[in-house]
């Protein structure tokens, strides 16, 4: 691969080195994709938005400040893409002719019956999918991207104390959700 840092690669790409962009994409695409799948629940949509995230990175490359915050910057783009898609889903639910596949987790009590006997990790994924968007976003960035509260705050355009509260609420909600399902 390369020993160049993300910032160096961004600087090199801005200087015309297209290979630097390729290295960046290949370095980050799996993590961006995994984040988007967990945000959206749909691999197909996640793949599309993964592409869109890097397209937006290309558009914004000239404005990037190489200050060691590439991950926050990249996941800010990806997070905005995901939340924009989730908003669109809510709008499309009201369109009678819509053929959009709605992957939003169901809150129907009947749907819970089918969860009986599933492995813990499936239950965890489903519980994550039921979290409010911002709680889910903060949790995913921390848990699966090892981002610090400060980095998450930059990626989410929120204060560190807000991130702290979002993470606490997310973990509390997950524990309650899982406890209630196991009791069934």
């Amino acid at each position: 691969m390369t020993d160049r840092t993300d910032d160096q690669l961004m600087t090199d790409y801005a200087g015309g080195d297209e290979n630097a962009l390729r290295i960046l994409v290949e370095r980050w695409e799996r993590r961006v994709f995994a984040f988007l799948v967990r945000m959206l629940g749909s691999p197909e949509e996640a793949e599309d938005l993964c592409q869109d995230t890097f397209m937006n990175l290309i558009k914004a490359a000239g404005r990037y400040q190489p200050d060691g915050k590439f991950q926050s910057w990249l996941f800010r783009i990806a997070g905005n893409q995901a939340r924009s898609r989730l908003r669109r889903r809510k709008i499309l639910r009201w369109l009678p002719l819509s053929n959009e596949v709605d992957n939003t987790p169901t809150h129907e009590p009947d749907a819970l019956d089918s969860l009986a006997g599933k492995e813990d990790r499936d239950l965890v994924q489903e519980a994550i999918a039921r979290l409010p968007e911002r709680q889910r976003q903060a949790l995913l960035l921390k848990q699966y991207n090892d981002m610090s509260y400060q980095e998450i705050s930059e990626a989410m355009d929120a204060s560190v104390s807000s991130v702290q509260m979002l993470l606490h609420r997310a973990m509390t909600a997950l524990r309650k959700d899982l406890a209630s399902r196991r009791d069934r």
């Binding site: 297209e18 994409v25 695409e29 793949e47 592409q51 669109r88 990790r121 848990q143 509260y149 702290q164």
Partner: protein, 137 residues
Amino acid sequence: MTDSTHPAGHILQALHDGELDPSLVAGVESHCAECEACRAELADLERMEQLLAASPVPELPRTVWHRVQPGRRRDSRLKPVFAVAACAAGIILGVLLGPVQFTPEETGTEVAWSETATVWDGSATSSLLGVYLTGQE
């Protein structure tokens, strides 16, 4: 947290994550050393984190590089929302232009299908659409 003397949940969470303000760490750790409920809370957080860590990582089926590299046209699949919008626009145009009747005299050509084609006159529509188009109830 039923006892107001316990640290708040987000404080314990931050301690667990190694993100607690350094000035608070000693005090909270000292409390936890003597408080079974808070230790249980921390243990719960740890178990939850292990569950989260055990979750499988979604696999990207193929690199997106070929779709994002500069100079290459991006994937231009028609997205469902645009397909729906296009269908809606087509229906609206069809309704608005439907009553227009083209005759051979107007077009100057003999049209074989004109003898058999049914020209829409508004009679077969729903009463609501008929009222809208004709202005008559």
